[in-house]
Structures are given as structure tokens and as C-alpha cells.
């Protein structure tokens, strides 16, 4: 099973969009760095992510949310992980694909 890692803001290119299109059922999506803006509720991107959450698991890195001042805005149902959790995810999934 694949873990997709998205590190770009969904507003600056189509990385997240392509990722969501490519990601199969039951795969994981992890938001890091500027990618964490994709995990936020009430944005223009939120509906796409919520739709994808129906059959995929979503994660977001806590320290990158905190740095950007957006820890409080995460879509309900997305799991917030620390660096330890990040490492665990990369071992839980068979393959990691980074959407640069």
C-alpha cells in the first residue's frame, strides 16, 4: 500500500490534485511543510480533500502546522502526527511516493 507525501501548498501547483487523482482506495496521504495548508478546513481546497477522505487515510505533521499558526484549523478526521508518527507511517506503508 502506498503512502503519498505532499509538501507543496495546494494553492501554488497541482501536486495535491494529481496525488488525489492517483491515490488508490485505502492508501495514505501525509501533508508536510507547505503541504499542511491542504489539511485545513474552510478553504477552497477542503471539499476535494473531504471527498478523498471517504476512502483514504489522511495525516498531517504537527510541527509544520504549529510553525504556520494553523494547528487549530485541521479538517476533522485528519490525524495529526509528530515526527515519530511520521517515521512509523513510512514503515507501515510498503512504498512512499513524494509529490514534489
Amino acid at each position: 500500500m502506498l503512502l503519498h507525501i505532499v509538501n507543496k501548498s495546494p494553492f501554488i501547483n497541482n501536486s495535491l490534485e494529481s496525488c488525489l487523482r492517483a491515490a488508490k482506495k485505502n492508501s495514505g496521504v501525509l501533508f508536510i511543510e507547505d503541504g499542511v495548508y491542504g489539511a485545513l478546513d474552510n478553504t477552497a481546497i477542503t471539499p476535494q480533500v473531504k471527498k478523498a477522505m471517504k476512502d483514504k487515510k489522511f495525516f498531517v505533521l504537527a510541527s509544520d502546522l504549529k510553525a504556520r499558526g494553523v494547528s487549530d484549523g485541521v479538517i476533522k478526521g485528519i490525524e495529526v502526527v509528530d515526527y515519530g508518527g511520521f517515521v512509523d507511517l513510512t514503515t507501515q506503508y510498503d512504498v512512499v511516493e513524494s509529490w514534489l
Binding site: 494553492f11 501554488i12 507547505d34 478546513d41 478553504t43 509544520d64 510553525a67 499558526g69 494553523v70
Partner: protein, 130 residues
């Protein structure tokens, strides 16, 4: 260079506009722009700052880089006023797309529609894009 020398050499005051479109930490653009604005403030020009697209995230409240080994430069935007940089504009459409309001920002700003922003850009002598 002293202010007097500037006046003798430079003469007229020009309208400078900095356009900030990048999120704060993923790239170095935001911090670079802020430094250029602070350095440029010594020349006492007519400065405007526009925040649009992900640039709006530069002004987000509650930034805390203590777990990230980066410098949190968001408090510095609150010092701009002391540098006589007082015209801060935020594009309404960009703010709405991100579900943000003025209350989410570290400094008071003037919200302008994209049409008003484009008019503002058109009035400038110099536009610097970051």
C-alpha cells in the same frame, strides 16, 4: 547615506510596491521580501505591501517555530509601522479561498478586491514581486 544626501541625489519620492505571494517557510521569498522592505524603508519612499495568494499566510497569527528549527519572523511585521511602512493590503479573494479573515492576521490590514489591487499596482512607479 544620510537622509539629506538621499534628498539631494534622489529628489522625488517614488511609489514602491512589494507583492508577497508565497507562504512563509516553504521558500525563502517571504523572509527576503521582509528584509528588503526593512532595508528599503531607510530611503523614505511611498511604500505599499500587497499580500495575495499564499502570501497571506505570512501574516497568520499564532505562528510558532519552536519545534521546527526555523526563525519565526511573523512578529517583525508588527514592527513595520515603526519603519513608516503603513500601507498593508490583502486581497479579499485570496483570503476567502483560505477561509481567513482580518482577525486571523498579526497586523491591521486593508482588504481590497482583486480589481482594486490591480488598480493599486497600476499606480506604482516600481513593483517588486516575491
Amino acid at each position: 547615506m544620510s537622509d539629506d544626501e538621499m534628498m539631494q541625489e534622489g529628489g522625488t519620492i517614488k511609489k514602491f510596491c512589494y507583492v508577497n505571494r508565497k507562504a512563509p517557510y516553504g521558500t525563502v521569498y517571504a523572509l527576503e521580501s521582509l528584509e528588503v522592505v526593512l532595508i528599503g524603508a531607510a530611503f523614505e519612499q511611498d511604500v505599499s505591501l500587497i499580500f495575495m495568494d499564499d502570501g497571506i499566510y505570512q501574516l497568520k497569527k499564532n505562528q510558532d517555530t519552536s519545534d521546527s528549527d526555523m526563525k519565526n519572523f511573523s512578529p517583525t511585521y508588527r514592527a513595520l509601522e515603526m519603519y513608516d511602512v503603513e500601507k498593508l493590503y490583502v486581497e479579499k479573494e485570496s483570503m476567502e479561498a483560505r477561509g481567513l479573515t482580518e482577525d486571523d492576521l498579526v497586523v491591521p490590514v486593508e482588504v481590497k478586491t482583486s480589481k482594486e489591487i490591480s488598480e493599486l499596482m497600476d499606480e506604482q512607479d516600481v513593483v517588486l514581486s516575491f
